[in-house]
């Protein structure tokens, strides 16, 4: 027996991991890693990858099992005690519906995407990290389903989340985002999800939903959030390591990576519009405004990040200034869209109360009173007169982000922004310069988009009437859709509150 050296964590991890790969000789390397080169990324030396976690598989099992035991204990307790009756208000549940139908399937896509990258990136370190992230993303999808399963037992809008994700018009926004990443090459996927999404934008997605849960008495979801927090930190670290590694490996990588950062920033910004309206309009107890969140998490934190990355020649994403200016308008315009199309949404809508409008005036002194308050006050008046406004025309969608074309021109909030491009004799429409640039960069890809409105018109969505399309969505009219007031959700909630008052009285 040799004398035993004490091993540090780093050294031990390196010994157990680094040498696992080998130079194949019975199959060409290009057959084993067929997607490593087509994107043009050049890697001189994979051994320069410094693994940021040094997590062996046994430690992974151990840490994750501990977290799962604690999380499921809380979920069981929440269900046993009917924790949903402790929510701030029944309206809150609609944020959770948006999460399960829009975000959970995206977590699942991330799981499969990281399995792809975890097989195909030719370097042991990043491959293991990607595989662990693939497992983590599966965890998030499955634990979210388990967390919200209890809500599904009581509230509408959750029951067909998977079916709806493949069909419902606004869910094609997150779905097309992830389909886009999944169909990109492995390095682009890594930058799109690992860097742009997880690193730059996670604080604007994950944090608002989880903080919203905390502020509104949703103990189950916030416990999931705390439990996933250490996974998310790992994912953020991986995202930043990957971008630095690519930029350090070869100067030719810079323009490619820059193009991806520009594209995925804008794609991500568009998806986050759903979060913006959730924060400003859907949470009964609000955390902060979208504008404030954008200032803290993008302008300040993102600014510091891109200042740090400037040494590699990387500049902040194109149109970041446009996105910052849009923060004044985004949530109001999105909520207006959903209010008008409440008949086709799988969650409930409402108009902001006078108190909420005052909050919005305070948070948006430059835009709310001038442009949005009058609209909401008019709609409130129409409701009082029994003429609640529904938009029964199908909206034109942006070919890239797939959001109805309701956004306004930069610097002119009274004019809708339209852009278009020609490709092979067809005209494609966009909501912004950011989306038009993305299309023009890869017209072959985006001309394939499955646009929900086009599909309805082409007869691919169950029929020509609203009833037929909703049936095809498996959306229960009168229960899943329409306003919160008068919904079965609200009626049940009111009954619970009366029961509670009687018990307390």
């Amino acid at each position: 027996m040799n004398a035993i050296n004490k091993l540090g964590l780093k050294q031990r991890y390196a010994l157990l991991t680094n040498g696992l790969d080998w130079e194949p000789s019975y199959q060409p390397k290009s057959a084993i890693f067929p997607y490593a080169e087509f994107e043009g990324i050049k890697i001189r030396d994979w051994s320069k990858w410094e693994d940021p976690f040094r997590l062996t598989m046994d430690s992974y099992w151990k840490y994750q099992a501990e977290k799962e035991r604690k999380l499921y204990a809380v979920l069981d307790s929440f269900a046993q005690n009917n924790g949903q009756t402790g929510l701030s208000n029944a309206r809150y549940v609609n944020a959770a519906k948006l999460f399960l139908t829009g975000i959970t399937p995206a977590e699942y896509q991330a799981h499969r995407g990281f399995a792809h990258v975890g097989r195909h990136i030719p370097g042991v370190g990043p491959r293991i990290a990607a595989q662990m992230q693939s497992l983590d993303e599966l965890r998030h999808a499955q634990t979210q389903i388990h967390t919200l399963s209890h809500y599904n037992r009581f509230f509408d809008g959750f029951h067909e989340f998977s079916h709806m994700h493949d069909r419902v018009w606004y869910l094609s926004v997150p779905k097309s985002f992830f389909d886009d990443a999944r169909t990109a090459g492995p390095f682009e996927y890594f930058i799109a999800i690992g860097f742009a999404f997880e690193y730059v934008l996670t604080n604007l997605l994950f944090v608002p939903f989880m903080s919203g849960a905390a502020y509104n008495g949703d103990l189950a979801t916030v416990t999931f959030g705390f439990s996933a927090q250490s996974d998310e930190s790992r994912h953020m670290t991986l995202g930043i390591e990957v971008i630095k590694f690519l930029l350090e490996q070869h100067p030719d990588n810079l323009p490619i990576v820059q193009k991806w950062v520009d594209k995925w920033f804008w794609r991500g910004h568009r998806v986050l519009g759903l979060v913006a309206m959730m924060m400003d309009y859907m949470l009964p107890k609000k955390i902060m405004s979208w504008r404030e969140a954008w200032d803290i998490y993008f302008t300040q934190a993102g600014g510091a990040l891109f200042a740090d990355l400037a040494r590699y020649g990387l500049r902040p994403p194109k149109y970041a200034d446009v996105a910052t200016a849009e923060a004044e308008h985004l949530s109001h315009q999105n909520w207006s869209v959903f209010y008008q199309y409440t008949q086709a949404a799988a969650f409930h809508t409402w108009l902001p109360t006078p108190g909420e409008m005052d909050w919005l005036s305070e948070k948006y002194p430059n835009s709310f009173d001038q442009h949005y308050r009058p609209r909401f006050e008019m709609w409130a008046e129409m409701e009082r007169d029994g003429k609640r406004f529904y938009n029964n025309a199908l909206p034109q969608l942006c070919t890239v982000c797939q959001i109805p074309m309701a956004y306004t021109e930069p610097g002119d909030p009274t004019t809708i922004c339209f852009r278009h491009s020609e490709h092979k004799g067809d005209r494609y429409h966009f909501c912004s310069d950011g989306c038009k640039d993305i299309f023009d960069g890869e017209p072959e890809k985006y001309s394939q988009s499955w646009l929900p409105v086009h599909q309805i018109f082409q007869g691919n969505c169950g029929g020509a009437s609203m009833e037929e399309v909703l049936a095809w969505y498996r959306l229960n009219p009168g229960a899943d859709n329409m306003d919160q007031a008068g919904s079965p959700d609200q009626a049940m909630w009111d009954q619970w509150m009366r029961m509670r008052d009687r018990v307390a009285g």
Binding site: T85, S134, Q142, R153, T183, W450
Partner: protein
């Protein structure tokens, strides 16, 4: 005497999600496995063809020649979802950890007969590379497979193979006093030693199998079906008289894992075979071809470890076990 805590009585409006209820045939309480697994993967209305393989959608049933009316028929009898998987593996590895402690504290590896110790280094340590190949194959099955029922356990298996590669690595470090020299030597064997070349060829060839279900059969039934019984069964048994008990303790995870993992593999193959004669023919053809290759590839190593006669006997016995398993799974009898 019973006590009753007063709570607010609230009645649920439904028991589970619509897609789960349709599978259960009624709206009734569903298991966590069902809710976490059934119909979770997207199936329709994809937006773009992959830049890396424009022939298919990123989730596409046609990536394999196997046809299933319902891919969620391929249920995992262990009912693993993320939490139950990690909790099971953490508990299992706790046993391995205790064994490492026990073996290291008592210096049990020093009791290995010197010649057998060399044999163990020769047959065991290069397997970390084969485990790594298996890891890549399992990640690929998750990447290209169809339906969460089969792809989620594939990713769990990828984690398992990485874990086992690292257990083998730790045994190397325990043998070489943490210098890593034994792992370097093992890699050299893997790359150059004649006994290992057909195994490396087998592994590299398995990495480029285009049909993920064929890869499933090649890896889980043919390669694993040969490797685990041979190495952790026959080789291990041969070492018992030569002080090899410590090695058995440190590799107990693999034996236990292979038995449990086999329950999943069997359920998947059996269900797919029962679906149609075409599936049965494909599965049988793949298993026949890959298991013959695996037997031939392991033969030199078995001869080196057990001697020519016992080696050939062990290969024949393991190959016969695979043929018997094929019959149990409803496949046509494989040629010997």
């Amino acid at each position: 005497m019973t006590i009753e805590i007063k709570t607010l009585k609230v009645e649920p409006r439904r028991q589970t999600f619509g897609h789960v209820a349709r599978r259960l045939g009624a709206d009734k309480p569903a298991s966590r496995y069902d809710e976490a697994t059934m119909d979770v993967q997207a199936t329709a209305n994809f937006h773009y063809k992959p830049l890396w393989d424009a022939e298919f959608w990123h989730y596409d049933e046609r990536r394999t020649a196997i046809r299933m009316r319902d891919w969620y028929a391929l249920r995992d009898p262990r009912q693993f979802y993320y939490a139950s998987y990690n909790i099971a593996r953490a508990a299992q590895h706790q046993g391995t950890e205790r064994n490492f402690d026990f073996v290291e504290k008592r210096g049990l590896l020093a009791l290995l007969d010197p010649a057998w110790r060399e044999t163990v280094e020769g047959y065991l340590l290069p397997l970390r590379h084969m485990e790594w190949g298996a890891n890549m194959n399992c990640a690929n099955m998750c990447d290209r497979g169809y339906g969460t029922a089969v792809t989620a356990p594939a990713m769990f298996a990828a984690g398992d193979h990485l874990g086992m590669a690292q257990i083998v690595g730790r045994i190397g470090l325990a043998l070489d006093g943490n210098s890593g020299a034994s792992l370097d030597a093992a890699k050299q064997r893997w790359m150059e030693a004649p006994d290992w070349q057909e195994l490396r060829r087998l592994t590299e060839d398995s990495l480029v199998i285009g049909d993920w279900f064929e890869q499933f059969v090649a890896q889980h039934l043919a390669i694993d079906g040969m490797l685990y019984p041979l190495v952790y069964g026959r080789f291990d048994a041969a070492g018992q008289a030569l002080g090899g008990t410590a090695v058995s303790m440190l590799t107990g995870f693999m034996t236990e894992w292979h038995a449990e993992h086999g329950r999943w593999v069997d359920a998947v193959v059996k269900t797919a075979a029962a679906e149609s004669a075409e599936n049965r023919a494909l599965l049988g053809g793949w298993l026949g071809a890959w298991s013959r290759r695996a037997a031939a590839a392991f033969a030199p190593l078995a001869a080196a470890v057990l001697g020519p006669e016992a080696g050939a006997d062990a290969i024949a016995e393991t190959a016969a076990a695979i043929r018997a398993r094929a019959v149990r799974l409803g496949l046509d009898p494989l040629a010997a």
